[in-house]
């Protein structure tokens, strides 16, 4: 099988794959989502190599997915949350000074449970 001209030298692709896998693993570590390493299996050489190849592929795909997620979510966070937060008023977070508790207390009206049945067919 002949590969296209871009594949004449596989080294950059291998390096990119390793970097992607590593970066993805680091992202998963940071997010406390890294999977525990699998228990070592007592395989023969051929099966052992096959298993290692599969693990490598799995790590690559997990790493790529983690990188993609990280990039996508970072864009969403800074573009979506960040820009919106500039316009959305932040909630008042002041804690009352001692003795200044409002006389009406902190209860808010809720009135839940008396809606039309249709309201419960909606997830909002």
């Amino acid at each position: 099988m002949r590969l296209g001209p871009g594949f004449s030298n596989l080294l950059p692709y291998a390096i990119a794959a390793i970097l992607l896998t590593g970066a993805g693993h680091l992202a998963r570590l940071w997010l406390n989502q890294a999977a525990a390493p699998p228990a070592p299996a007592k395989d023969g050489l051929r099966r052992g190599m096959g298993r290692a190849w599969l693990r490598g592929l799995q790590a690559f795909f997990h790493g790529t997915a983690a990188c993609n997620n990280f990039i996508f979510l970072s864009v969403a966070y800074f573009a979506g949350i960040g820009i919106t937060s500039l316009f959305a008023g932040r909630k008042e977070k002041k804690f009352p000074a001692p003795g200044s508790t409002p006389p009406a207390g902190y209860w808010q009206d809720l009135n839940l449970g008396k809606r039309e049945a249709d309201a419960y067919y909606r997830p909002f």
Binding site: L31, N32, L73, S74, Y77, I81, K114, F124
Partner: protein, 596 residues
């Protein structure tokens, strides 16, 4: 008509199946998956619910989900907006699940179950309220719900009448009594959403002055941490409250206590397994006192508003049995009822009952008078398991023989595994999946802690006593409230019995009793009585049939594995008796896997 109630995706996933308005099956996913507090989709629990009735998913008329996912998502987004850019990490941690599962309930149900019918979404605290009121014995009751957080609500009160449930007023995130308790749980080095009850168990070791009257100014003044911790919460006389968010990180971080809280409490977050210092015990006592202050104030206010003599409680905070034990004595309420599964798992029942009664307008006909709603195994199934595994066992010819032998072994000081009938609904073992022992032996607490449960020495064990005998041993409310059947009330043990019940008497002289009624569990009741005729005290130590870090056992296989990995001497499983000494080889060492 079948309605399936589901709660999942936060912690303690569970499923409840209603048939014509009656609960016919209810179980938490953790018992099947063997992952404690499993938050995943409760597929195994749902499958068991369906199998137990011999039906398929196509026979389910409605699924009731325990919250409104879009409202919760709105709150999560609002949190990130308010905390930009500090919430960068938690945004990355939370969003993938939210976008793929948590707001796509309908597609998850279709994918996991092949379900294409109606889905009803009942607000989180409305599910709590319905789960507290609709299965209760009351025609009318005030309802109080207190937990970490639902969609926005963290605390609410309202009223239940007949088939209707209404929540009138609430307190909203981030102001949450449940999250305050959890933040202190984290500060004390215990795991959040799991070990809050350890903080409750630790609290009597803190400084206090009960001679001044429990909850009195003198009692609180004796604990220097109380006044410090009061700085983080402003409590109004109507029980409403507000947290000072400068002391907490839970809005934007996976950690809960802020550096400022650590400075206030005089030291850093305790590492797990680090020694518990007097300061830690004072902090546990202080947060417990504050919790009791708030809950009792809310209840007084709810009584003032509703004028009703009955109250039902729900939400994780309703599992605080120390606080519950004060309610009837210190508020105007005359009767109380709490669901055995008052946390989020119980919302699967609440959502299903709400759908049945309030949404579909069908009559309210279910009363929850026992908690045995989970899987059970027939004698044939247990016998086959024992034979297939080559486990040596004997079989009793009669119920009386079983009770008599179990009582004899308990009186001889043995630790007994008790696996009988349907599994309990809720976090407490109530005599279906229990480890039992003699409460009168001075060394029993140490034996159970070291050989069986591998848990912290400060935690007491619970006593199980027949309902009509409770008043003899405990200073309990009269008439005895029903939640005591679900181990949800802590009462002082009468002075004269404390020295004779060392395994179940906590450091402050209290006990978290389980009362047993013969109508609910005749075998267990008869065992306690039979033990009483031998020992002179009809009471047993009842602790959950598991080791630290594992869910309570569900199947005969789980029970046998737990027995053989621990110091349990024998197992009464259905009609069978399995002795450890007859099956000499330990199949695993539970100590190596005991976790928080």
């Amino acid at each position: 008509m079948y309605i399936l109630g589901i709660s999942c995706h936060y912690h303690d996933s569970a499923a409840t199946l209603l048939k014509d308005g009656l609960v016919v099956a209810a179980a938490e996913e953790e018992r099947f998956s063997r992952r404690k507090h499993d938050a995943g989709f409760p597929l195994a629990a749902i499958r068991w619910c369906l199998e137990s009735q011999g039906i398929g998913i196509d026979q389910i008329d409605h699924i009731a989900f325990y919250e409104k996912p879009f409202l919760k998502f709105e709150r999560i987004l609002r949190q990130h907006l308010d905390n930009f850019p500090r919430s960068f990490k938690t945004f990355h941690m939370a969003m993938p699940k939210w976008l793929t599962e948590k707001i796509r309930i309908r597609s998850v149900l279709k994918k996991q179950l092949g379900y294409r019918g109606d889905v009803l979404y009942v607000d989180h605290h409305l599910s709590h309220a319905a789960g507290a009121f609709l299965p209760s014995p009351f025609e009318e009751a005030a309802i109080v719900t207190v937990d970490g957080v639902g969609e926005w609500t963290t605390t609410a009160y309202g009223m239940g009448r007949g088939s209707s449930v209404e929540l009138l007023r609430d307190i909203r995130f981030p102001h949450s009594l449940g999250l305050l308790y959890s933040a202190i749980t984290a500060y004390l080095g215990f795991s959040v959403n799991n070990s809050e009850y350890k903080v409750m168990g630790l609290s009597p070791y803190g400084r206090m002055d009960r001679s001044a009257g429990r909850g009195s100014a003198g009692d609180k003044a004796a604990n220097p941490m109380y006044s410090k911790l009061r700085q983080v919460i402003d409590i109004h006389e109507d029980g409403s409250y507000r947290l000072d968010m400068d002391y907490f990180l839970f809005q934007h971080s996976d950690r809960m206590p802020a550096e400022r809280l650590c400075r206030l409490l005089g030291g850093p977050v305790r590492r797990p397994e680090e020694e518990l210092l007097p300061r830690h015990k004072d902090v546990a006592a202080a947060v417990q006192m504050i919790t009791e202050d708030v809950v009792l104030a809310i209840l007084r206010h709810a009584h003032h508003v509703t004028g009703c003599p009955n109250v039902v409680l729900s939400g994780g905070v309703a599992l605080n049995s120390v606080c519950n034990g004060r309610i009837l004595a210190e508020t105007e309420f005359k009767n109380i009822w709490i669901q055995p599964n008052a946390g989020d798992a119980g919302n699967s029942m609440g959502a299903a009952l709400f759908a049945h009664c309030a949404v579909l307008g069908r009559p309210r006909s279910y009363r929850l008078d026992h908690a045995y709603l989970g899987p059970e195994f027939s004698g044939a199934e247990i016998g086959k398991f024992l034979s297939d595994k080559g486990i040596r066992h004997s079989r009793f010819a009669s119920r009386e023989a079983l009770v008599s032998e179990a009582a004899r072994l308990l009186h001889a000081g043995q630790v007994v595994g008790w696996f009988q009938g349907r599994m309990e609904w809720g976090p407490r073992a109530l005599g279906a999946r229990s480890i039992l022992a003699d409460p009168g032996r001075p060394d029993m607490q140490a034996i159970l802690n070291e050989k069986v449960k591998h848990r912290e020495a400060f935690r007491p064990f619970a006593p199980a006593v027949c309902a009509e005998d409770a008043d003899e041993y405990f200073q309990c409310d009269s008439p005895l409230p029903l939640p005591a059947d679900f181990m949800l009330m802590v009462y002082p043990i009468r002075e004269k019995w404390r020295a004779r019940l060392p395994a179940v008497t906590h450091v402050d002289g209290t006990g978290r009793l389980q009362t047993v009624r013969r109508a609910a569990n005749p075998l267990y009741y008869d065992l306690i009585k039979e033990f009483g005729t031998l020992s002179g005290i009809p009471m047993l130590v009842n602790t959950s049939f598991n080791i630290r870090g594992e869910p309570i056992v569900c199947t005969p296989g789980d029970a046998y594995r737990c027995m053989m990995g621990t110091g349990i001497d024998c197992l009464f499983i259905g009609d069978f008796l399995v002795r450890r000494e007859d099956n000499s080889k330990d199949i695993w060492d539970s100590e190596s896997v005991a976790t928080d």
